[in-house]
């Protein structure tokens, strides 16, 4: 077991306070995704793991080292936790060029070769002398990632690193990320609310809602029941029920669409106009048209 965490922290949101209260364990060299809506406490959780924020109470342990223990008053500073952190806004230092951004992370300036190696690895050597403001979003993202890797972290924390990029770039950076994760045998935790990304990268998904760990497991297990299925589903309101010989025709309003469906007598028995209903259909043979 590599990262063990059990914490509690009061958080503020628009509707008042709620508490981020969860326990989790993450194995070495796995890729974990923290999935959830914005405001669920995902970024706060990453900041707590990194030491940038402290929980009100709890325990954080990484590879047998205690990082935080409220009872024993242990709270290791972020500087002492061997982590790499990629921020949502990349947090590149504007006054330093790409190479200097990476060199800043070195513990010993003599290790400059390390920087060149990483620059090469993420294909940034040609941009090494450019200032961050002259880079595109994807390039900035790669610099941020490269910089986080300079210290050879045991734990890599990524806060929605790809959310500001377009779909195509995202896909290629996801691959790059996956490659680095495997190559450097990193333990990676990534915050995202992109389902596709989760499926492509995650060994393990942790779904967080309102500060609580709702579900945990492989992406296919976690999202199987609701998110992916062989059915079409929609929720609507019954506008009209019309009996027609042996069947009933229901008119249902879903969003802005009016749909007519057929219901048997048994089904229609318990329904009346104004009821909210879920309509599902098996998708064995749907018509798919490009629009």
């Amino acid at each position: 077991m590599t990262l063990k965490l059990s914490i509690d922290k009061k958080l503020l949101d628009l509707s008042g306070t709620f508490s981020l209260n969860l326990s989790l364990e993450i194995e070495t060299t796995t890729f974990s995704v923290i999935f959830g809506k914005s405001g669920a406490g995902k970024t706060t959780l990453l900041k707590i793991i990194s030491g940038l924020l402290s929980p009100d109470s709890g325990l954080i342990e990484f590879q047998q080292t205690v990082w935080f223990d409220q009872q024993k008053k242990i709270n290791l500073k972020p500087q002492k936790r061997k982590i790499g952190y990629v921020f949502q806004d990349y947090a590149l230092f504007p006054h330093l060029n790409v190479r200097q951004n990476l060199e800043f992370a070195l513990e010993n300036k003599k290790d400059w070769r390390e920087v060149e190696k990483i620059l090469e690895m993420v294909k940034l050597s040609e941009l090494a002398n450019r200032l961050p403001e002259s880079l595109s979003g994807g390039q900035k993202q790669r610099v941020a990632l490269a910089r986080a890797l300079v210290r050879k972290p045991d734990l890599l924390l990524l806060d929605e690193p790809l959310s500001a990029l377009d779909q195509e770039l995202r896909a290629s950076l996801q691959q790059e990320l996956f490659f680095l994760h495997k190559e450097l045998k990193l333990t990676t935790i990534m915050v995202t609310h992109d389902l596709g990304e989760t499926f492509r990268l995650a060994d393990q998904v942790l779904v967080i809602e309102k500060g609580k760990l709702e579900k945990k497991g492989k992406p296919t297990e976690v999202f199987n029941s609701e998110k992916i299925s062989s059915k079409f589903k929609m929720i609507g309101e019954i506008i009209e029920i019309k009996k027609n010989d042996v069947v009933n025709i229901l008119t249902i309003l879903s969003g802005n669409n009016l749909v007519k469906v057929i219901a048997s007598d048994e089904e229609a028995e318990n329904l009346k106009t104004g009821d909210k209903v879920l309509v599902a259909a098996k998708a064995f043979n749907p018509l798919i048209m490009k629009i």
């Binding site: 500087q79 790499g84 921020f87 806004d89 947090a91 230092f93 800043f104 910089r147 986080a148 210290r151």
Partner: protein, 219 residues
């Protein structure tokens, strides 16, 4: 025309600005990032000179510096320093008087930086001090410049505090504002005019230079 008041005034402004830069840096840093609840009290004290008539400040400093009183006695006895009607006294007065201008600018500078810059430096293993000097300060040059200019200009124009604690000793405490006042009182309008015009031109050029640099650094 005697240029000594000019030299004295600029000397005071330069020393005050440099001293304030050193003093305000930790204060502004603390005000910008501390989570302490009592922060507002410190903020109020620092900013008092903004709302106080300079003569009020000068009057209390006059009492404080008086060698008959506690602080004056203490400084006299242990440092053989007399702050009353002396250039050193003027420095102390100017530093207190201009403190809010420097602190506010630096504090805003710190607060306007994205928090992730600081956090990124910490996660890269750098101490607070190294982060301050290598990351934060280089990215808030306009705020530092604005603080220095305002402090400098404010010290140039000082009158009330200076008059009360400095008096009018040539080469010691006779600053340009005092000199102008004196010439007017003597109905010596020609000299007063020359002093004033020179001040006006110097101040304007200084500000123009600053805004020019600011404009350039933005691009």
């Amino acid at each position: 025309m005697n240029f000594q008041p000019f030299f004295l005034t600029f000397k005071l402004a330069i020393i005050t600005t440099l001293l304030l830069l050193v003093i305000s840096l930790p204060l502004a840093y603390w005000l910008a990032f501390s989570q302490k609840r009592k922060k507002y009290l410190v903020e109020a004290v620092i900013n008092t000179p903004l709302v106080l008539p300079p003569s009020v400040l000068g009057f209390y400093l006059l009492l404080l510096f008086n060698p008959e009183n506690f602080l004056g006695k203490f400084l006299q006895k242990y440092f053989s320093l007399n702050l009353l009607f002396s250039f050193s006294g003027l420095i102390v007065g100017s530093v207190i008087f201009s403190l809010p201008f420097m602190v506010q600018n630096l504090q805003n500078g710190f607060q306007n930086l994205p928090p992730s810059l600081r956090e990124a430096a910490y996660t890269l293993g750098k101490s607070e001090l190294e982060t301050l000097f290598k990351i934060l300060l280089p990215n808030m040059k306009p705020a530092i410049l604005a603080g220095m200019v305002l402090t400098f200009a404010h010290t140039l124009g000082e009158f009330g505090v200076v008059l009360l604690i400095g008096g009018n000793i040539p080469g010691q405490t006779k600053l340009i504002s005092i000199a102008i006042y004196e010439e007017v009182e003597r109905l010596n309008y020609r000299t007063a005019h020359l002093y004033s015009l020179l001040m006006l031109i110097l101040s304007l050029s200084l500000l123009a230079l600053i805004y020019f640099v600011k404009e350039k650094s933005r691009k």
